[in-house]
Symmetry: C5
Subunit: 354 residues, 5 copies
């Protein structure tokens, strides 16, 4: 419902920093997962209370706290006061209508991203808000519901695959963003396949449902665009290396994500171009078919209307119609009719209507 | 009337700084409300004369003077000379055709914004001009008529909710701008709902009033755009922190408004894209329906025109038409007609017109 | 004639700085008016020779020389040599195909603007070129013909209204530009009213002349745009205060003009958007009406063509048509026809064509 | 042939700096003209060998070498080695598919421009490549064929008109570029006249050839745009005064050319806008006319089809049709027919179809 | 398949730097060619193992290693560790979905380009990814399959033609990029010819396959654009001379490529403009033809429908129709019919429908 217009109005009039969950409640119970690791050591913990996370705050090891579910204000608030997060950030975390953005608070960075997935059976694209707080030694992520996009990273940490256990919290943050951006490709490819199969259908046998489908896909592309465009600024903001939280060795990886982002935007723009080209083609095909129909009508009508008129003349009941008496009148009239028909067919052929 | 073109011409030829109210008189009597507060103290006063406001000018407490109604030139002039406001600013305050802008005069900042609301019964969007003068210790706001957008802030000050009583005049100015911008979301969501319900209607059962409605919404989006685009420059001008009147602690809040502004502009652009997509779809649907109609006409006509011609032939009154005498001629002709009809139906089916 | 394409070609091949009047001769005799004033003193003089102006050149008072008519090369040349103006500037002054621009020559600034007015009876917008040379103590203006746009300023100087007599030549230049820009609003509002009345007409009863009128207005908007867009650069060039000829106290007034220019450009862009929206709507309305017409044709034809066919059958003259003998055949056939007609009407109603 | 796509591919695979003429051979024999002058002295010489030019290289006087015809590689090569020109520049000179550009090699500047002219009888616009090498004391120009655009300058030098003999090689280069740019106005005005006459025709009596003409003009505008847009960069590159070869006194003249370039681009963009507006209008007019035709068809058909049906009924040969016997039946039926026709006409009038 | 949307998703979830070939396997066996040369010396070697290349790494001569086929991970990996290439670069080399880009790693530069060629029989344009690693003394190129674009350069080195043997590795890199970019012209010219022949066909005899062809070409232009646009950034990145690997003497050659790139982009944009103009024209032509068809139908129908009605009247079987008895009734009615027909023809002629 109203994916493209959001729901920000219910907060109008409230003082800034007022925590209020805006969005659907996608999960019943908030789930907090803590992962604490360095090269040698690894700890894994599931909890429901922020208090269990506090001890990790000042440890030198990398700590990743993942919170699934953002509708319980007390948990968010406690988390905020425990880790020293600005109230405006907390407000944004629980408000799912954010535009992807990055805010640098010196000792921590706040990043909002959209995670895309194909929601219902018709494969409509939906978005989930993921917030991330990156500090020197910990990363806190907030998701609207449990997801499996971060699972491979969890596995990589657990099994000490790749270089993730050797690197700091900034590399962890990079890995999480990378996982989200990589997931865009999955969604985009399905989207692209949908477009291309529709294009195929369009050129071979356009049906009446082609048009609403193009319309839906255009809407989808609009939604994708709205979700992805700001991403570029976010990643380029990170990549420019203005924050000291990102080490130089990680910046090269961010450049990689930036390339991916550009590619994603490219693909979305290409989709839009394709879709508007498809609409033009659809209109032309429709008008061509209409033309075909009209031509048949014209040919039939223009041939038979004059013939019927001739028949009508000799159907008149005048007393003195000398032709009627003649023995050869009937076959003669039939021949005349035939001749008129043939002349017309030649005319149409010359006009290239046949 | 003429919302998109304004009414500036009547001032052509007058010297700059000439005060002249341009716009509708939306309120009968000018109402001046003064709020004076600091953390401990709070004072609330309603008056009709600027003289009552003068004493507050040099007090160290935060003073908010709100003026509802800008058509009485003497009040504005007195206010200007009392608080040292440049004549060009006064001219802009009473002229409701301003574009949102910000002007920095060193010791005070002049901000013009548009407050949006849904005016008449049909929910057409209208705009009211709000001017704001922010100085070290006071904020003066000018509205065309009494509104309730500022009420929550008045309540927050009165009841000492949030941090507003602890902060200075710049935070008050921020809160007022925030209230205006938050109100945009209310208007935009209604607008978005209107678009989406029309879109629904378009795809299910387009009526003849769909077209003028799309046209009206496009016009509305144009109006919104004209009102909101300059806002970005205004807020970003404030946020860049070039004026010393805004304290650093307030700048982070301005960044928040800036984010909202970007979101609003995003939504308006999305609306425009949606609406022009809707027009395309409308045209296609219309042309599809026409096609349908034409096909039925063609089928009926192309089947019956030749048959009528055959009937016409045997309706001729020639004396020597041997077929007429035959016993099986009539059923034979009927069979021929049936055959012609069936052949044609097959032809249409093969052409996919049925 | 050829408003959008100009007439520059006749000068091809001439050396730069060659004076040659390009444009219509809109006035018979060149008229030179001199106004010389400071706070105490005021002098007013009308002449036909530049020699009378020379004495004012080095006076410390502000001198405004206004020249109506630019087709007499000798006057322009004399003026140029007397006041030390670069030959390229003189060339531009007498060539009415200039684009609004500003050129800073250190000790004087050359400004070209377009003055808009509604020319003929049909209210077509036309442009007149106004050149202005601003120096430390004098302003020289060149108009193609006598106009009344500068009259209010002349009055203000004469009657010592406002601050104009207290300020220098830069303020005079500002006042003149302001008068021209203010006059744009007059033209634009008429233009806007024309658009809105056409829009009204379009949605209520589009006539066949609506289309050429939209086309004309689009052309008009194109012309306005071409005349006004460069203005922004001109004013912003002045406002940025790069020239020392403009005092700081005048710059704030230039900012005011700049705001107006932005507003004018905004309005023109809005007009263009409106007009292209109107064309879309016009096309849709036209196609809707066509649809209506087609539906009526289809309904009439599809109902009566089969009925006529039935009548045709019983109009055949076969000898052995047993139905013809039956007493109830005629009313029976009539009932069948009625039934066929009613079934068809129901079909159309179900298809929503009625 | 293939004006818009060029012919660069035949050089693929050759090492850079390989001289190879690409383009049509527009002249039979290469012609070299040398003009050598300063304020007092003037020398004029026509030759076929570069060797005759070498002595002028190091003379302090201004030397202008003009080469008509660029298809003889040996001449170009000799010229290059004699005047110390980079091989890549030589390659560009003989390859007519260049985009207008400027390259600064320190001691000389290489400029490529397009000279426009109306080629064949139908007035199609064509382009010729003009290369120019400007050094401290000489200017070398390369044209594809002899042209008369530079003639006025040759005359001015010969007759010592204007300031050209008093100025250096940079002023000569400016004069040549100015001659080319001035010539654009000639071409553009013809083009504009063509557009406007077509516009006139479009609104009064659109013919079937209007459409391909609009298409051709759009193609022409595309070609003009492609030739002129890069010119802006070229001139602004020169005007910014980065090269020491242009003296300050000449820069003001370059600014003049820059203004002209902007004006030319403006005009081309206006043409494009006009042309796409004309296509829209053409489509609308076409659809309007169709509408007209359809309405006539509908009116005739809907009036006569039911009437013919009525006649058909009384043409049936049933034995028992009591009406047939009645004396007043025939005039009665005629009256009914008349009534039906009149009712329909009223209906159409109410629907505004008449 | 899916040229416009790529295939990146299968890598989602893998750690960065994981080598995995993405794309079609276009060659069976990887082929490695080594060219080692300086001014005096030249060595040429074909191998299948990277080990054979290692010795060339530290030689001062210029070494060019060309690898055809990128689907064998072990070879790429070995190459990477041998020449010290970053894992992310290796990942990009084997993943054919890259966007053209340049990455500067200080001691080497990584460049990705697209090589275009006309793939199948219908001349559809396809792209192959070419990666290049440029270091102080060697260049490594990776192609998806063996190609002949680099052959001329190989020949030039072997035969010591041009200056290539005298220059360093940077000039070799330039030559290779130049070869790729030059090849674009070949593809673009074929593409342009296709467009122009279709345009010719469109204006002379548009067929039903014209529309899908325009659609295909638009898609092709979209693909070209996607492949070429990023090239500009790549080349301009190189040309700006930020990397010390490119010597100053080579930069001038890069500027030459940059010019070519701009020209290519220009041509693609021109193609897009042409193609969308062609679609408009196609639609107009189609609608014009429809108009023609309709007019014929209307003329035939409006002439004969009333005549048939008249005939119908006198076909009625009323007993008392006095006209039927008259001797001159029949020829009279025929004359009336003739008159009606002629009047109508005049009417149509006046309406300009004939």
């Amino acid at each position: 419902m109203s994916k493209l217009f959001g729901k920000r109005s219910i907060k109008a009039g409230l003082p800034p920093g007022t925590l209020m969950h805006v969005g659907a409640e996608k999960v019943e119970k908030v789930k907090i997962t803590v992962l604490d690791y360095d090269e040698q050591h690894f700890e894994d913990k599931e909890t429901e209370s922020i208090d269990d996370c506090a001890p990790f705050r000042d440890k030198p090891t990398v700590t990743w706290i993942n919170i699934d579910g953002i509708h319980q204000m007390d948990i968010i608030e406690k988390m905020g006061s425990c880790f020293g997060v600005h109230p405006l950030v907390l407000e944004d975390i629980v408000h799912t209508g954010q535009r992807p953005k990055i805010e640098d608070f010196g000792n921590y960075i706040y990043v909002v991203l959209k995670m895309l997935y194909r929601g219902n059976d018709e494969g409509e694209i939906e978005a989930e808000q993921v917030s991330m707080i990156l500090s020197e030694s910990f990363v806190i992520t907030f998701q609207e519901k449990e997801g499996d996009v971060f699972d491979p990273i969890r596995q990589r940490i657990k099994q000490n695959k790749g270089r993730i256990r050797k690197m700091g919290a900034d590399y962890l943050a990079y890995s999480l963003i990378d996982a989200i951006v990589d997931n865009y490709f999955v969604v985009l490819e399905k989207f692209g396949e949908h477009i291309e199969s529709l294009e195929e259908e369009l050129l071979t046998e356009p049906a009446s449902r082609t048009l609403p489908e193009i319309h839906d896909l255009k809407r989808g592309a609009l939604f994708l665009r709205k979700s992805v465009w700001p991403l570029r600024e976010v990643i380029s903001g990170l990549e420019r290396g203005e924050s000291s939280l990102f080490k130089k060795s990680t910046l090269i990886y961010l450049r990689d994500i930036y390339d991916h982002t550009i590619q994603i935007i490219d693909t979305i723009e290409t989709s839009r171009d394709l879709l508007s080209g498809m609409l033009d083609t659809y209109l032309s095909i429709t008008s061509n078919r209409m033309n075909e129909v009209m031509k048949v009508l014209t040919i039939i009508a223009t041939i038979f209307i004059p013939l019927t008129f001739i028949a009508g003349i000799y159907g008149m009941n005048f007393k003195y119609m000398p032709e009627l008496e003649s023995r050869w009148a009937y076959p003669g009239v039939l021949l005349v009719m035939l001749a008129v028909g043939i002349v017309m067919l030649f005319y149409f052929r010359r006009k290239k209507w046949l």
